[in-house]
């Protein structure tokens, strides 16, 4: 491994690294726009200029390979002056409309101007006019004047999504990003172009004009959209969750995530989230506190003979939740009849070749592991037969958090509700559940953003995540629910224990229907 000096600091870097990678490794700031670790090298922004000892001209760090004994710096006056001018060149035709730009607060131009620029501009000529608010497709808007032509988005559609919708048209300072032959930018990875756009040229139709980014907090999480389990950041404030962005994870998702995964924040905020317990049946619903609902459900379970109980799991809960549920049902209640509700069985093995998988559950693998370690198995046919044959009196379902990915939801609810009693744990309310005939308990549970735990992805990789924010404070985790069902106590902290939704702070947003 070659040893090189970066601004005097000696570091050892992997063979064939580029100088910019060495700067990143050394933790030394370097100005750049076009270079992105997940894309090929374009070398066009000309900002990552460094002085290499022994070379007369400045070099771009992104396309210069390290050599043993090399000494590079970006602190000399020549480099600083060049970078300043480089920024000036980027900005002379930029509209400088930060006050109305969605990128403000997380903009490469703003940040790097403050860090490396801070010059007095001398440009007094009229700026080049280009079109603004160009509709690129269902997800992305383009402002051609803000664009600095770094070509990251073009390289992304070329190299990563391989959909090739974008190109740079025309030349010189009339160059502009556009879609090829009117074909819209429409693929399941399109919003990555917004993430990698260093300026406010590409903005997400879903997020633009909604929030100022400096009002948002972020929490690391794992996307629940499919069994890939991409590492994500969830951006939220007291009004709810506003967007999901990818976090770098070389072992799973690299730098990217799919648009489907980005939409997972929506059901978290939905007005249709279940806000309190509901007990009853068709036309006879009673809204009760979560505690009352779950305790009375527990009582019903403990009354029922273990052989007359069927437990149905979906792959949407955490490993920790499965562990406590399995422990309760298997060891305390001695229930033998457990079933795995797999949505879309025929699509489970589909894969788009990049990230998105047909198994739309984040933790199918974790559920399978739990089945194996508790020696449980249950055939779906037995469940159906058991319900039809009145063998199962009480069915408890750990229902889907994201109901939209269960196309057979209504049909299955009809089937479950043929049992005498149905206990349904869910994040969101459900219309077909409201018209069932049997005695039913609806118990609100937390979504992935609201709880800590781990998912096991398709590779068998266990990925921990922390609780981000709370949207529905009364909602329980499965572990808490089974504690209460067992008749024990949990720590309620400051959670409201009455009936009804949150009054302040945790306003459940009515944005974005799925």
């Amino acid at each position: 491994m070659p040893k090189i000096k970066v601004n005097g600091q000696e570091i050892e870097v992997p063979e064939k690294s580029t100088v910019i990678q060495a700067f990143k490794q050394a933790g030394v700031d370097i100005c750049h726009y076009c270079w992105h670790p997940g894309l090929s090298i374009a070398g066009v922004c000309r900002l990552c200029m460094v002085q290499v000892e022994g070379m007369p001209k400045l070099q771009i760090a992104c396309n210069t390979e390290v050599k043993e004994g090399m000494s590079v710096n970006n602190t000399s006056d020549v480099v600083k002056e060049t970078v300043k001018w480089g920024l000036d060149f980027h900005l002379i035709n930029h509209p400088l409309d930060c006050p109305i730009c969605d990128q403000a607060g997380e903009c490469g131009l703003q940040d790097q101007y403050m860090q490396f620029g801070s010059y007095d501009p001398e440009m007094a000529e009229p700026k080049v006019k280009k079109s603004k608010a160009v509709d690129l497709g269902p997800t992305v808007m383009l402002d051609k004047e803000r664009c600095i032509l770094c070509s990251r988005c073009v390289r992304f559609t070329d190299e990563v999504s391989k959909t090739n919708e974008l190109g740079i048209f025309n030349r010189g300072d009339r160059s502009e990003i556009g879609t090829v032959q009117g074909k819209p930018l429409d693929n399941n990875y399109s919003l990555n172009t917004v993430d990698i756009c260093p300026v406010g040229a590409l903005t997400s139709k879903d997020f633009r004009f909604r929030q100022r980014v400096w009002y948002l907090k972020e929490a690391d999480s794992i996307c629940p959209g499919c069994s890939t389990g991409c590492s994500v950041k969830v951006h939220y404030n007291e009004e709810g969750v506003w967007r999901v962005k990818p976090r770098v994870n070389p072992e799973v998702n690299g730098h990217w995530m799919c648009d489907v995964g980005r939409n997972t924040y929506k059901y978290v905020n939905l007005k249709s989230r279940l806000l309190s317990g509901k007990v009853g049946k068709r036309d006879l619903w009673q809204e009760v506190s979560v505690e009352d609902a779950v305790r009375s459900a527990g009582l019903k379970l403990r009354e029922t003979s273990p052989d007359a109980i069927a437990v149905v799991y979906t792959g949407q809960y955490t490993n920790e939740e499965y562990a406590s549920a399995f422990k309760f049902f298997k060891e305390e209640l001695k229930v033998k009849n457990v079933f795995h509700w797999l949505n879309n069985p025929e699509k489970v093995n589909e894969f788009d070749g990049l990230l998105f998988r047909g198994d739309r559950n984040p933790n199918t693998k974790g559920l399978e592991n739990a089945f194996a370690s508790f020696g449980a198995k249950g055939s779906w046919d037995n469940l159906q037969a058991g319900i039809n044959g009145r063998k199962f009196k009480t069915v408890i379902v750990f229902g889907p958090e994201d109901q939209s990915v269960f196309p057979d939801l209504d049909e299955k609810i009809k089937m479950f509700s043929q049992a005498e009693n149905l206990i349904w744990l869910t994040a969101c309310a459900n219309k077909s559940l409201d018209s069932v005939g049997g005695e039913t308990w609806q118990i609100p549970v937390k979504t992935y953003i609201e709880k800590a735990g781990s998912f096991t992805n398709f590779q068998g990789k266990v990925q921990d995540f922390k609780a981000g924010t709370t949207i529905v404070p009364q909602a329980l985790s499965v572990s808490e629910a089974v504690e209460l069902m067992a008749g024990r106590e949990i720590n309620w902290n400051l959670r409201p224990r009455g009936v009804g939704g949150p009054k302040t702070n945790y306003a459940v947003s009515d944005r974005g229907e799925l």
Binding site: R171, G172, R174
Partner: protein
């Protein structure tokens, strides 16, 4: 003064056809070359001191020896995209003597072990395209191209490719992109074309004049070729002389000839009553020379470099005292702004900026600080980009406002008229 080595038969219309070309010794040298050891040809070209005639002046033999020594397929591309304002010698060569170029290319290809070559011809040169295309067909019919050329066992195919009107496609990697069917944009180096060029294969790009000259080096030997020119700038060069001279045109002279001889003796001097004001010695991107400098300089790579300019493509633009420098610079800036491919920021934005400043001055709205600004912007455009177009725009800008500062200042002050210049419309 003139040495007609390449251009010996340019005055004979029949030289354009295969028959005429053969009557004047055509394809005889090819037969000789094909019997030589390819490496010996490369060594001969190295020994001749031949330097690229397209503008950069890089030693041709050295360039060839950068190719990997394995049998990997490789390409020879002839750069006939002649776009540098003021240059028209390649066009003359292609139209007067297409077979001379083809013969030079076949033997060069043989030397570097290349089986396929292309001639990338400027899109506006419709006559050149037609004439060279026809000549290639003639050469195929006569067995100079195709399989087993002249019984040597060497196979070679050649084709023409038409540019679409972009100056940047004259830059070698821009040309490669264009030939690949991509947008004409220079490629990031490294890798250099000799390692990874056209279709990611090793590629050599040479100018029309360079490749044609190879024939004469092989015919007469390196030593004989070196008799022309200077120690470091060997051989002859075709200059395209334009502007305010009595007899503009393409002239072949030995390198090292004093510029004033070229202007006054060969091109018949200026029009009566006119005074020399400046000369652009190597195409519009070469820094301009004042009349004093022009009277001193000799036309070779070193002398011009010493004078702070360059030989470039050999386009000599003669400017007499009837011209306004402000007007001229703003025209040149318009050209580079129009031709910048737009990928590197300093060039994309800098050419536009310079164009706007110079146009503003030309339209009578200049300010005294503009001169310094032009210099600052230009300096920051130099050596900062993938290719040299940025430098090509910056160099004339700096040299114009430095060497003719008085004229720019007067123009800015009066809001029109250059010092001693013609009335500005």
């Amino acid at each position: 003064m003139q040495v007609k080595l390449l251009s010996e038969h340019y005055d004979k219309p029949e030289f354009q056809t295969l028959g005429g070309y053969e009557r004047h010794g055509g394809y005889v040298v090819l037969a000789k070359a094909l019997k030589m050891d390819p490496n010996a040809i490369i060594e001969e070209v190295k020994a001749s001191g031949l330097r690229g005639r397209g503008g950069a002046g890089f030693p041709t033999g050295t360039k060839w020896s950068f190719l990997p020594k394995n049998g990997e397929p490789r390409y020879l591309l002839c750069n006939a995209d002649e776009g540098e304002p003021g240059t028209f010698k390649d066009r003359v060569m292609m139209e007067k003597a297409p077979h001379q170029l083809i013969e030079g290319m076949i033997m060069s290809s043989f030397a570097i072990g290349c089986k396929k070559s292309y001639i990338y011809i400027r899109g506006e040169y419709t006559d050149s395209l037609r004439i060279v295309g026809k000549a290639i067909q003639e050469a195929y019919k006569a067995g100079y191209l195709g399989k087993n050329i002249l019984g040597s066992g060497f196979d070679h195919d050649m084709d023409v490719y038409s540019g679409a009107g972009a100056y940047i496609c004259g830059e070698e990697t821009g040309m490669i992109s264009s030939l690949e069917g991509l947008k004409g944009q220079p490629k990031l180096k490294p890798p250099f074309p000799a390692v990874q060029g056209y279709l990611r294969k090793p590629t050599i790009v040479n100018n029309v004049e360079t490749l044609a000259a190879v024939k004469y080096i092989i015919r007469d030997g390196a030593a004989s070729y070196r008799k022309h020119g200077t120690e470091k700038s060997a051989g002859t060069k075709l200059f395209s002389v334009s502007g305010n001279v009595q007899r503009p045109g393409t002239y072949e002279v030995p390198l090292g000839l004093p510029l004033k001889v070229l202007i006054n003796d060969i091109c018949g001097g200026l029009k009566p009553g006119r005074k020399l004001k400046a000369v652009i010695p190597g195409g519009s991107s070469a820094p301009i020379l004042t009349a004093d400098e022009a009277n001193k300089v000799t036309m070779d790579y070193e002398a011009l470099a010493q004078m702070g300019s360059m030989l470039g493509s050999g386009a000599v633009i003669v400017i007499d005292d009837s011209n306004c420098m402000v007007d001229m610079l703003s025209t040149i800036m318009h050209f580079y702004h129009h031709e910048s491919c737009g990928q590197c920021t300093p060039c994309r934005e800098g050419t536009g900026w310079l164009n706007k400043i110079t146009h503003r001055i030309a339209h009578g709205h200049g300010e005294s600080k503009d001169i310094e600004l032009i210099k600052k912007v230009s300096e920051q455009m130099m050596g900062k980009t993938i290719c040299a177009l940025s430098d090509a725009a910056a160099m004339p800008a700096i040299s114009f406002v430095t060497k003719f500062r008085d004229e720019f200042e007067t123009y800015i002050k009066k809001g029109q008229l250059g010092a001693g210049g013609a009335a500005h419309a």
